[in-house]
């Protein structure tokens, strides 16, 4: 198929296009970028880019399952990140009033993670060069993988990792989504980089 040059700036558009145009309701998409220079060198998968869409069908009135202290902690971290990005201190009463949801928090935590040599769901997908499609909370728990367990703990029901030429595309959803070859083909087309 047609391949594109790898371009950091277009990653966001590709991730966004992938889940905004999908029939299924995906909560987020992440591109884990490989550091490997060729097929024989050991690889580290690190954060390339991510797109958080959120839970479309979630009622706004859903009561929080997180403790008050946990919410305060998340809000504090978000305020600090806001200050870090904007370069100015954010007033206590501005923004971050809304609850930081479990999936938002999982997405943020993901930015700090990386996977070496076949570890974690993205690493396993990269190492075996096979897509991993885990649908169902029991299956996520049975995957014997920290990331799968963590995702389940934050309310995800489906996590998918699809290897591409320069990394792995991960999708997650709070809904139960079964394997779709359309989606896997879409990933192969959108993330088929020629370097």
């Amino acid at each position: 198929g047609e391949s594109h040059s790898f371009n950091q700036d277009t990653l966001q558009q590709r991730l966004q296009g992938l889940i905004d145009n999908a029939r299924e309701s995906w909560t987020y998409a992440i591109f884990w970028q490989s550091s490997a220079v060729d097929y024989t060198s050991p690889s580290l998968l690190g954060w390339g880019d991510g797109y958080y869409k959120g839970e479309m069908n979630k009622p706004k009135t859903t009561p929080s399952v997180t403790s008050f202290a946990e919410q305060e902690h998340r809000k504090k971290v978000l305020r600090e990140l806001n200050s870090l990005i904007s370069g100015s201190k954010m007033p206590e009463n501005e923004a971050v009033d809304e609850e930081v949801t479990d999936t938002e928090w999982f997405f943020l935590i993901s930015m700090t993670q990386s996977f070496v040599n076949g570890n974690g769901l993205p690493g396993q997908a990269m190492f075996s060069n096979q897509p991993l499609w885990i649908a169902g909370r029991e299956r996520l728990l049975a995957a014997h993988c920290d990331r799968a367990r963590q995702g389940e703990g934050f309310g995800l029901q489906t996590i998918v990792c699809i290897p591409s030429t320069s990394g792995v595309v991960e999708l997650g959803s709070t809904e139960l989504i079964f394997q779709s070859s359309d989606l896997m083909n879409e990933v192969r087309v959108l993330f088929n980089f020629n370097n």
Binding site: W47, Y52, N82, E98, M111
Partner: protein, 31 residues
Amino acid sequence: NKDLPLSRKKSLRRFLEKRKERQVSISPYAY
């Protein structure tokens, strides 16, 4: 901190901006 890699900084900025937009659109004061 200053050592935050650029790709994460960009992703973080986008995430925070989108979050702010979502909050404004669901706020009762927005109507």
